[in-house]
Symmetry: C2
Subunit: 313 residues, 2 copies
């Protein structure tokens, strides 16, 4: 099934657009968790894998998708990458949509190697076989079409998705992204190109496998980009720990409550660190994560029109 149809079906089934971001910082794992593993890179990697799989056990059935932040796994070298690979495979087995947040970028056949590796198939022996099994990958657009279209080509062939950074959620995002050129900021130029990249791959409902990363921490620009990019899926970071509220992300959805995935990472997976959760759940950290995810689902239902998804529409 094509990526957009698969994603919409899973969102409809879950009844919410929440993406749980899995960014396993070793220093924020539950108290005592790391101590169960050997103090070497394979041991830390195994801790990351075990933690990620425990998070999956909590959130599968609650949310439609998870997003893995590659940095925290790659930091531990090959065993770390193996831990991400195994956790991503477990997520897919649980029916979750798997987004790899690698912000990859390169040109021509190099971009295609990333795309084939993460989203498609690579030559192995006489045949082609999948390597990573991800559903979607984040991509950085600085290199222009040469750096993005190879990802789109592979995603289209393999029924996968691509999310292109347009307006990021960080404080210095505007240094380059807001520079005014020919009457509009750089991020709008990126958005214009993104429409071109996405258009050939739009489905009957107008949605394309080429999506956009648009931070929730700049709600005005989020609303502006929703208008400028009808039919573009938004992957929206910034809710929760980064400071954006449900009202801030409301503009990411279309009139039907569709078209956006709202990510929260630390605010969900490290909820047990917050005093209110610690007071209520003590060392039952899985329960703290479960509650934080349910709170986020409720918050979005109450304050955005994605709440309609809960009615099965």
């Amino acid at each position: 099934m094509p990526f957009v149809e698969r994603l919409f079906a899973v969102v409809r089934q879950a009844g919410n657009p929440v993406v749980v971001g899995i960014d396993p910082r070793p220093e924020e794992l539950p108290a005592g968790f790391l101590d169960q593993f050997p103090g070497d890179p394979p041991g830390v990697a195994e801790a990351l894998r075990r933690f990620g799989c425990e998070v999956l056990d909590v959130v599968a059935g609650l949310v439609p998708a998870v997003k893995f932040q590659c940095a925290f796994y790659e930091a531990y070298g090959p065993p770390g990458v193996a831990a991400m690979h195994a956790t991503a495979a477990a997520a897919r087995q649980k029916g979750l949509i798997v987004i790899l947040d690698g912000k990859r970028n390169d040109i021509g056949s190099t971009a295609e190697a990333y795309a084939r590796g993460y989203l498609g198939k690579v030559p192995i022996g006489p045949a082609y076989a999948p390597s990573w099994h991800a559903d979607a990958l984040t991509v950085n657009p600085y290199l222009g079409s040469d750096g993005v279209l190879p990802f789109v080509k592979v995603a289209a062939r393999e029924e996968k998705g691509v999310f292109v950074l347009v307006r990021t959620s960080n404080a210095s995002a505007g240094e380059f992204q807001d520079l005014m050129a020919q009457g509009q900021p750089l991020y709008r130029h990126v958005a214009d190109r993104l429409r071109q990249w996405a258009a050939p791959h739009a489905n009957a409902a107008g949605y394309s496998l080429v999506g956009a990363v648009v931070g929730a921490t700049y709600p005005g620009q989020l609303a502006e980009l929703r208008q400028a990019l009808p039919g573009i899926l938004f992957l929206v970071p910034g809710y929760g720990t980064q400071g954006a509220s449900a009202r801030d992300v409301a503009a990411a959805f279309d009139a039907h409550g569709h078209g956006a995935l709202i990510n929260s990472s630390r605010g969900l997976t490290f909820a047990y660190e917050r005093p209110a959760f610690r007071a209520r759940f003590a060392d039952r950290w899985q329960s703290a994560i479960d509650q934080a995810v349910r709170d986020m689902i409720e918050d979005l239902a109450a304050n955005t029109n994605a709440g309609r998804l809960r009615l099965g529409s």
Copy 2:
């Protein structure tokens, strides 16, 4: 020893500024090479490792540095990444400077996780230990200072280097990088920020651990950026297969023949595919690579002022 001093010493010793780019495309390995390995991901990964190490045996002692293109390893999942890790370690043992071409980018503590992983140390047990041992990493600047300074901070602490994409070598590089904002193209805005990021880390000779990636395929812009960025190391892709000549890259060097590394990837490591080399070396593919590297060194010596390096200055 700080990165810049280490790099300059190795360049002086080699007498040339050549970086051998190791981009192991399985379909371009020497005839019969892949057949020696099992037709599964670990088998292909082992072929990539073995090929990379054979390339190192040829080029160590000839050139100062190698650059690994992460995409071709990551495409094979955890075993591919393990192959890159092992080949990079072998390169360092041979005294080569190791540049990882990952074009990484993210914000805040996530960027720091990449930086600590690839350039620095990560928490393992009660201590911090290195994971990747690379000397330098390429970084994409689209996210602004938040996305670059964590890499710079870790590199400064660990005596490593960072190369920030400024003007890339691909055909569509200009789509965003050439957009005119406030009277200058985007890539000049990136260059201006890069000077700020680099300045606190300049050594006595004025060179900083924060370098720039500037493609050789746009020689006019390369010359312009050399003027605009005194004291910034340039990592210059585009020589050879991508079309740039030694005369095109001449402007990358400062008045002393310093300050630039010239990369060639396919043109060197897959030299045996070119008819002239095939005719001369047949299946002695290592000899073809050796000759291609020597040809490039001679070409740069004859057509750029980096030739002075050969005199030991």
